[in-house]
Amino acid sequence: MKPCYIHSVVSISAQESFSEDVLFSEIKNYPEFKVSAIHPSYRDYIAPAQLRRMSPAVKMGVAASKKALEISAVTQPDAIITGTGLGCIADTETFLNTVINQEEQFLTPTAFIQSTHNTVAGQIALALKCRAYNTTYVHGSVSFESALIDAQLQIETEEAKQVLVGCVDELGTKFVDYIHLVEQSQQPSINVPLGEGATFGVLSSKQKGAAAVLNAVEINSKITIDEITTKIKAFLKQNQVAIDEVDAVILGINGDGFDIYYQTITELFVNSDILQFKKYVGEFFSASGFAFWMGTKLLSGKTLPEAFYVKKVDKEPYKTVLLYNQFKGSQHSFVLLSQC
C-alpha cells in the first residue's frame, strides 16, 4: 500500500483561518447561537457572474478547493471527493419554501438544480473541466471522514496519484433554527454556536513538498461509552502507535452530554496536548474538517492560538496527532496524522 501524503489544507471558518499567510493569533468569541464563517473575498477565486448565483456552500467549496490546488501546484486532480452533512441547505430551503408557499405553481428550477448534495463537487469539476472520479459523501458528522477514507483508498491502491478532498456545510436560514429549537430541550444542550465552514486539501502519493502524512482513518457508527477507550487503543495499536507517542489529541468537544466520550479518552492521553475547536468555529456536520486543518498545521510546525488548548504539556515539535470526533454518541471518527 502506498503512503498518503497531505500537501495542502485550506479552511474557511468562523476564525481567520483562510488568510493563513500570517497564522491567526486573535481568537474571536461568538456569544450568538449561530455563527457565519468569515467569508474571504470570493472575487479573487470566482468570476463575478458565477458568484451571484452561488450559495455560501458553493462559494466556500470552490474558493477553498482552488486555494488548496494552488498551494500544492496541482492543476488537474485524479479525483474530487467531498463530504457534506446537509448539502446545499440554503437552496434546498428556498425551493422547499416556494413549493409550499406557491402551492406547487410557477416554480423556477434554479434553486432545485443547486440543491443537490453533489453541487459543490460538480461545480469544482466544471470549473476545472476535470473529468476524473467525482463523488460526495453525506453521512452526518462522518461526511468528511468518509471522503478522507475514499481519498486514502484512491492513493493506497494507486487508482489516483493526487486527490482533491474536502468538506463543506452552510448555515442556511430556517432549518438551523429548528435544529437549535430541538437542541434547547436537551440536557445539557450543545454549548457552542451552530456554524458553517469548508476545508479542502490535496492528498498525494508523492512525498516531496508534503506537509504531513495521513496514516489512517476509521469510522464507527456506534460505540458505547464503555468501549471507547478500547476502540481507540485498538486503532492506535493497529497503526503501530503507542499512546505515549501521540503528541496532540484534537477533540470535537461541544458542551453537550456526549462530551463524556472526550472526557473519558482525555484520561488515556495523560502526556499529550489536548485541543478543541468547536467553541471557536461552531458545531456542524463537517466541522471535523477544521480539526484536520489544525492537525496538519501542528505537524508542519505552525503555531495555533493558545485558546484551542484544553491542556498543554508542551509536546512540540509534534510528530503524531490524533483527531477524534462524534455526534450525539454516534458517527465516531478517528484520524491519525504524522510528520513527514
Binding site: H117, N118, G122, V142, Q331
Partner: protein, 398 residues
C-alpha cells in the same frame, strides 16, 4: 474477468414489486409499474405518471415491527425492508463474524417528512422528531441500527448515480481488503420536492416514458430501495455461499459540461464505460446486454446513445432502459438496475424497452422492444446524474 467481489444477496422494493421475485415476474411479463400518484397529495398528480411502491408507510412499519413512536421517514422504511430481503437471501444474521460495512445512497433523505411538517416544526412538538431525520445520513443510520451494523457505515449522494457509486465503493473496499462484507445500495422516496423540481425543469412526461424514442417526452419519477450483499471470496469460501453474480467492473467519471445537462459527445458516459470495461478486463464485444440509464429526456438519451456508439462502434449489444417499468428512482436507480441486470443474467433474458416506437434520427439506434432470449454473461449498467456524475458498472455470471 475480475471475480473478487461476489454478490450473495439482493433485495428490492420498486413500482413493479415488493421483492426480487415480484420484480422478476413483472420484467418477464413486460408489465410496467407506472401509474397515478397515490401516496402524495400533489397538485400534479393527475398530470404525471410515477412509479410508486405499493406499500404504505404503516404497512412497512408493521412488517418491520417498529414502535409506533418511530421517526423513520419513507426513505428509511423502504430501505430497511429492501435491505432485510437482501440479508435474508445472503443468509447474513451475524454482523460481527466478518468486518461488515453498510453503504447507502439517497438524494432526498428525509424530505418526505420534512416537506409535510416544514411549517409546523416550530410549533408542533409531535412532529419535531422529524427534524433530526431530515439529513441524508439518517436513513442509512436507521437501517444500519436495525441490523446492528456498527463499523463502516456511510452515505453517498451524487444525484441519480448515487447507488451505482455506493456499489462501486463497496467493491473497491472489498478488493482492498478493508472490509470482508458490505451491504450496498440506495433508497429514495417520492416527494413533492423532487416532483416539482423535475417539473420545473420541464422534463417530466405526462404519459409513460419512451426511452430512446425519437418522440420521447421526458421521464417518470419513481421511488424504490434496493440493496446487494457483497462478500469477499474468503467469506464465500468459508461459508459456502451461493454466488448470484460478480461486480466485475466499475468506472466513475465526470462529464464536466453542465450542472444538469449532458455533453453532446457523452464524454463522461464514454469515460465511465471505458473505465468499467478496463477494471473488468473485458472487451466491449464481451458485453451481452446494456441496461442503459435511458431516462427518456431529450438530452440524456441522445448523449448516452452517442457515448454507446463511441464505446461499442458498429457492434452495440442488445440494450434497453428499464425505467418504463420502475420510473426513474433517482438515488436508488443504480441499485435497482443492478438487481434487474442480475435477473437478466439468471434468466438469460433482455428486458423490453417498453414504449419504444421510432428510432432517433441522429443515431438510428434500436433498443430491444420485446423480451428477448439471449445468453447473458456480462451486463453493463449505466447511471448518470446531475453535477456531471457518470458511473458504469459491470455484472458478470458466476
Amino acid at each position: 474477468m475480475n471475480n473478487e467481489v461476489a454478490i450473495t444477496g439482493m433485495g428490492i422494493l420498486s413500482a413493479i414489486g415488493n421483492s426480487v421475485q415480484e420484480n422478476r415476474r413483472a420484467l418477464l411479463s413486460s408489465k410496467s409499474g407506472l401509474g397515478t400518484l397515490k401516496h402524495i397529495d400533489s397538485n400534479h398528480k393527475n398530470a404525471i405518471k410515477v412509479g410508486e411502491v405499493s406499500l404504505t408507510n404503516s404497512e412497512i412499519v408493521k412488517r418491520l415491527n417498529l414502535s409506533e413512536k418511530n421517526n423513520f421517514t419513507r426513505t428509511a422504511l423502504l430501505g430497511t425492508l429492501a435491505a432485510k430481503e437482501a440479508m435474508q437471501q445472503a443468509k447474513v444474521s451475524n454482523y460481527s463474524d466478518y468486518k461488515t460495512g453498510f453503504i447507502s445512497a439517497t438524494t432526498v433523505g428525509g424530505m418526505d417528512m420534512t416537506e409535510n411538517h416544514w411549517n409546523q416544526f416550530a410549533s408542533n412538538s409531535e412532529v419535531q422528531k422529524y427534524i433530526s431525520s431530515h439529513n441524508a445520513g439518517d436513513s442509512t443510520e436507521k437501517i444500519a441500527d436495525y441490523f446492528g451494523i456498527t463499523d463502516y457505515v456511510t452515505t453517498i449522494s451524487t444525484a441519480c448515480s448515487s447507488a451505482a457509486n455506493a456499489i462501486m465503493l463497496g467493491a473497491r473496499l472489498l478488493k482492498a481488503g478493508k472490509l470482508d462484507r458490505v451491504i450496498v445500495g440506495g433508497t429514495d422516496a417520492l416527494s413533492k420536492f423532487t416532483i416539482n423540481g423535475f417539473k420545473s425543469l420541464m422534463i417530466l412526461s405526462e404519459s409513460n416514458c419512451k426511452p430512446f424514442d425519437a418522440n420521447r417526452s421526458g421521464l417518470n419519477l419513481g421511488e424504490a430501495a434496493a440493496y446487494l450483499v457483497l462478500e469477499s471470496n474468503k467469506v464465500v469460501a468459508e461459508q459456502n455461499k451461493k454466488v448470484l453474480a460478480y461486480v466485475s467492473g466499475y468506472g466513475n467519471a465526470n462529464d464536466a459540461f453542465h450542472q444538469t445537462a449532458s455533453s453532446k459527445t457523452g464524454e463522461g458516459a464514454f469515460l465511465a464505460m471505458e473505465k468499467a470495461l478496463k477494471t473488468a478486463t473485458l472487451n466491449a464485444t464481451q458485453i451481452s446486454y446494456i441496461n442503459a440509464h435511458g431516462t427518456a429526456t431529450q438530452n440524456n438519451d441522445l448523449s448516452e446513445s452517442v457515448a454507446l456508439q463511441r464505446v461499442f462502434k458498429e457492434m452495440i449489444p442488445s440494450f434497453s432502459s428499464t425505467k418504463p417499468f420502475t420510473g426513474h428512482t433517482l438515488a436508488a436507480a443504480g441499485a435497482v438496475e443492478a438487481i434487474l441486470s442480475i435477473i437478466a443474467i439468471q434468466e438469460n433474458k433482455v428486458f423490453a424497452n417498453l414504449g419504444f416506437q421510432n428510432q432517433m434520427p441522429e443515431t438510428g439506434l434500436y433498443p430491444v422492444t420485446q423480451l428477448e432470449n439471449k445468453e447473458i454473461n456480462h451486463v453493463l449498467s449505466n447511471s448518470f446524474g446531475f453535477g456531471g456524475n457518470c458511473t458504469s458498472l459491470i455484472f458478470s455470471r458466476p
